[in-house]
């Protein structure tokens, strides 16, 4: 069945494209877990998924944004896999098995990687805490100053009366 699928895809993609899906694909990720896509739905899903896959020859660019030949080829590979009904996760897992996790533009949120996901939020909260503390402290200081300000005319009066004799 896989062979016939590969042959059908080969015909679909043109005679020179060669077999897109190797027989090892199912061994690696199992049978297609999604729905076989075509037409607009396929292109839409391809655009989304391609934005999560790193172009192997570029720096920090997704294959959807890259004009590189190898990025184009990888997009063809992803398109063929989506057309055969493989899910996003199956496709990413398959690529990861070849290229390593670096092929994902954003690292998986697990293990040590969690630092990358959690630390910015944590630092942001910490910064927010510091800002709130500073603002509260300066408000308190201002309030204290205000309290003294109310006494000013009275203090002035006391000074005038006490020191009046010396002037």
């Amino acid at each position: 069945m896989i062979t016939s699928l590969a042959v059908a895809l080969t015909m679909l993609l043109g005679a020179n494209a060669g077999p897109v899906l190797g027989p090892e694909l199912n061994d690696a990720v199992g049978a297609p877990a999604g729905i076989a896509l075509s037409g607009d739905a396929l292109e839409r899903r391809l655009a989304v998924l391609s934005s999560e896959i790193r172009c192997p020859v570029c720096q920090g660019q997704a294959i959807v944004d890259s004009p590189a030949e190898s990025a184009r080829h990888m997009k063809e590979q992803v398109r063929a896999m989506l057309a055969a009904g493989y899910s996003d996760e199956q496709i990413l897992t398959w690529l990861e098995g070849r290229y390593g996790e670096f092929i994902r533009l954003s690292p998986r949120a697990e293990g040590l990687n969690l630092i990358v996901w959690i630390l910015p939020a944590l630092l942001l909260l910490l910064g927010l805490g510091v800002v709130i503390a500073v603002v509260q402290r300066s408000r308190k200081a201002a309030r204290a100053a205000d309290a003294n300000a109310g006494l000013d005319p009275w203090i002035e009066k006391v000074r005038r009366e006490a020191g009046g004799g010396h002037e």
Binding site: N16, G18, P19, V20, P56, M74, G97, R98, G100, I103
Partner: protein, 174 residues
């Protein structure tokens, strides 16, 4: 109030504890090649392929089994590949029947490659759509995979290999 007394030592300490490790990681990271990731394929069966060679013959992984295989990805636009090619030709001559050398064209025109690899003594395969390169997780050229007689990838080398490296890697293979 003097400027000196404005420094809050606890705040400074917390700041340093946060900033110094980040700065250290950043400086260390500058020296890393982010693409220099260990191939997850090492220790796994090599992805199968059956490709047409420049001479019109068909070469597959199955036909190459039984002795170690040096699978090299290269292109004419890649300068280090040119330097490496001479080493591969020498290696193929020295190894004779004890190991195979096979070259796969990476994102290049077969016609451009033809003149370059003429007389190399080993097959150069056309990889339509770059599928074999994707199956092997090639980040750039040159890259060389050392596959043992049973078809398991034992080593992946990024960048050009020379005769010494080829010999050492083959010797270290089980």
């Amino acid at each position: 109030m003097s400027a000196r007394s404005r420094i809050s030592w606890p705040v400074l300490l917390v700041g340093l504890v946060v900033v110094v490790p980040l700065l250290y990681l950043f400086v260390r990271g500058l020296g890393f090649d982010p693409k220099d990731v260990a191939s997850p394929l090492v220790g796994k069966p090599a992805p199968v392929f059956a490709l047409e060679a420049l001479d019109g013959s068909r070469v597959s992984l199955a036909t190459l089994r039984g002795r170690p295989l040096i699978l090299n990805f290269s292109a004419t636009w890649c300068v280090p590949c040119r330097q490496e090619h001479g080493e591969l030709v020498m290696a193929a001559r020295q190894l004779g029947a004890s190991a195979s050398v096979v070259n796969v064209i990476y994102e290049d025109e077969p016609e451009a490659m033809r003149a370059w690899v003429q007389g190399s003594g080993f097959p150069t395969l056309i990889d339509p759509g770059g599928q074999t390169a994707i199956a092997y997780g090639v980040y750039g050229v040159p890259e060389t995979f050392f596959i043992d007689a049973s078809g398991v990838i034992r080593e992946k080398v990024k960048g050009p290999v020379d005769l010494g490296r080829i010999r050492d890697t083959l010797e270290a293979m089980p």
